[in-house]
Structures are given as C-alpha cells and as structure tokens.
C-alpha cells in the first residue's frame, strides 16, 4: 500500500514532463497575452488560477475587446465543456460514499493532461496524485506565461516550434499504449484522428472554435464506440449475455 506522500510524489514526478510542455505552450500564450494588454504579473496570476490553455487564450482575447463579463462566463463554459465530461469520467471511478471534498479536490485539478495521466492510472483517482501533478505542472505554466509576456521575442522561432509539440507528445503517450493493448481503443483513436482531420476541412463544422469541435466530436464518437464496443468504467468488456470478462 502506497502512503499518501508516495502517491503525491508519484504525481509530482509525472507532472514534471507535463510542466515542461506547459512551459513551452505558456510561452506562446504569454506572447499573445502581451498583445492583449496583460503584464507579466497579471499573466502569471491568470495562469496560476485558471490553468486552461484554450480557455485562457480566449479569455485574454475577450479582455482585449472589452467583452462583457457575462459573455466571458458563457464562452468560458462552452470552451471548457470537455472538463465536465472529464469530471464525470473521474467520478465514475470513485465508489459510492466518496466524500464531496475528495471529489471536488480531484475535479479541481482537471486539465487535459492531468486528467489523461490520472485516468490512465489503475484504481480510484486520488487527490494526492492529482495535486502532485498540479504542483509540478501549474507553476511552470504560470512561469512560462510570465516569461512569454516579458521576453517573448527573444526565444528563436525554431525553439518555440519544437517546444510546441511537447504537449501533443504527452497526449500520444497517454492514448497510444492503451490503444496497443485494447483493439477497441485503437480503433477509437484512429477514427478520432480521421474525423478530427475531416472536421477541420469540412464546411460548417470547421467554422466552429477548436474547443467546440473537440467537444462535439468527443460526444459523437464516444457515443458511437459505446454502442459498438461496450465497456465498464474500468475497461472490462461487456459480453452480449451480460457476463463480463476482464481483458
């Protein structure tokens, strides 16, 4: 049995590469934030409190156009709607009787990447793990934003270009190993790639923001695979007769 401290440290270690990726992406976010009128301290504050990439980028842009707060709230809800789904997926893994405090603490740590590594861990999600990851990753996210604002022009474009794929590399590290183990996940990943490409090219749907395309495709495709290849929350196959076999 691992102690809470060991789990926290495990989360912290797993959070470091995420933080490295965040740092790079935050740098480019910072460059944009500066254009939108944020100084380094304000960018740092926004990043350490919000830690949401696409949502923050949008928020900064909305501030620059002096959009009403109510619009900011609605658009933030829409662009971050995938966090609700991720919250459901994490809570689905927690047994009945889990205190609300625990559920809220785990939920508060949701980012695309921290969710990814948390759901990839077997067993019940714990706030010790998610906070470990959060403590490693989010300060780097905030630092990257502040540095992007204060010295964004200095870093060579090629370095920014290289660092910008770090996050995607992490996504691949989360989805590819299960895709190798479980054929249904493999098909889901491949079809998601294909549909995502199509969504960028096709009329109407390509006009949606990236966040909205993501949520639309997530709902449609997850529903499709739920019908084609039913699974329990832990990934056990559900046989036609109702019997389950742990694959």
């Amino acid at each position: 049995m691992e102690t809470s401290k060991e789990i926290f440290l495990k989360g912290y270690r797993d959070g470091i590469p995420i933080g490295a990726g965040y740092f790079a992406v935050a740098f480019s976010l910072g460059i944009a934030a500066r254009e939108y009128g944020f100084n380094a301290f304000q960018g740092f504050l926004a990043s350490i409190l919000t830690y949401a990439s696409a949502g923050q980028y949008m928020g900064f842009a909305l501030y620059a156009t002096n959009t009403a707060l109510i619009e900011l709230i609605i658009l933030t809800f829409i662009i971050n709607a995938r966090y609700i789904l991720m919250g459901f997926a994490l809570n689905q893994r927690m047994p009945e009787g889990t205190p609300l405090r625990t559920r809220v603490l785990v939920g508060s740590c949701i980012t695309d990447e921290i969710f990814g590594i948390t759901i990839a861990r077997p067993g019940v999600p714990t706030p010790f793990y998610t906070f470990g990851a959060l403590f490693a990753a989010v300060p780097l996210w905030a630092l990257g934003t502040a540095l992007g604002i204060s010295m964004g022009i200095i870093l060579p474009a090629r370095v920014v270009s290289a660092l910008s794929v770090a996050l995607f590399g992490m996504f691949l590290a989360v989805i590819i190993p299960p895709a190798r183990k479980d054929k249904a996940v493999g098909i889901a990943v491949f079809v998601s790639f294909a549909c995502s490409l199509a969504a960028v090219k096709l009329p109407v749907i390509s006009g949606l923001s990236q966040g909205n395309r993501t949520i639309l495709l997530t709902v449609l495709l997850s529903a499709l695979f739920a019908v084609l290849f039913p699974r329990t929350a832990d990934g056990e196959k559900i046989e036609k007769g109702g019997a389950r076999d742990a694959d």
């Binding site: 797993d14 470091i16 590469p17 009128g37 944020f38 304000q42 409190l49 501030y63 002096n66 707060l69 900011l72 709230i73 809800f77 971050n80 995938r82 789904l85 991720m86 919250g87 459901f88 997926a89 689905q92 893994r93 939920g107 949701i110 695309d112 990814g116 759901i119 270009s161 290289a162 660092l163 910008s164 794929v165 770090a166 995607f168 590399g169 992490m170 996504f171 691949l172 590290a173 989360v174 989805i175 190993p177 190798r180 996940v185 889901a188 990943v189 790639f193 995502s196 969504a199 993501t214 495709l217 997530t218 495709l221 997850s222 695979f225 739920a226 019908v227 039913p230 329990t232 929350a233």
Partner: protein, 102 residues
C-alpha cells in the same frame, strides 16, 4: 468603460473551475447504465486524439516536421517510452528537421 483586469482574471478562473467540479457536485455514485459507462470509458481517448491531430501538424514551423513528430511520438509510445521521453522525442524531431528545412 474597460472592465478591471483583475476582476476579469478572477471571473475567468472561477468559471473554469466551475466546469472542472460540476460533475463532482452532481455525481454521488458510479453510473450503472451500460451505455453511459462505455461512453465515459472512451471519452479520454477520443478527446486527446481529437486534440492531437491535426493540431500537431499545424503547431510547427512547417507541416512536415509536425507530421514527423506525430509518427515518432506514436512509435515511441507504442514501444513503451515514458511520458517524458515521448514528449522529448517529439520536440527533438521538430528541432532537428527544421534545422534542415529552414
């Protein structure tokens, strides 16, 4: 009148947090419905896959280096490289390729 920037930051942060914890307030026990269980099982894979491609190809200086990073990343992850190593391989791929392309 320009809204106070700090108010703006706090409203953005709070609205984002609400989305993170909404499910925690709604759900008290795991959902038994087979469709919902299956649906939630696929959500992370579909979301992360959709966010990765084609965005990775568009994120880099040239699409070729992004595409190469995608392939290298998939191969590295397939053969069991850690999160950190996969990320580093992807970055190095782009960095090295763009030395030649630019």
């Amino acid at each position: 009148m320009q809204t106070n920037i700090y108010l703006y930051i706090f409203v953005m942060a709070f609205s984002t947090w609400v989305m993170r914890v909404a499910a925690s307030f709604i759900m008290r026990k795991p959902i038994k419905n087979m469709f919902i269980q299956s649906f939630l099982y696929y959500v992370p894979y579909v979301t992360l896959a959709v966010m990765t491609f084609p965005a990775i190809v568009e994120a880099t200086g040239t699409p070729i280096s992004g595409a190469a990073a995608l392939i290298i990343g998939i191969l590295a992850a397939w053969f069991g490289a850690s999160l950190f190593k996969v990320a580093v391989f992807c970055c190095l791929t782009v960095f090295v390729l763009e030395l030649f392309i630019h």
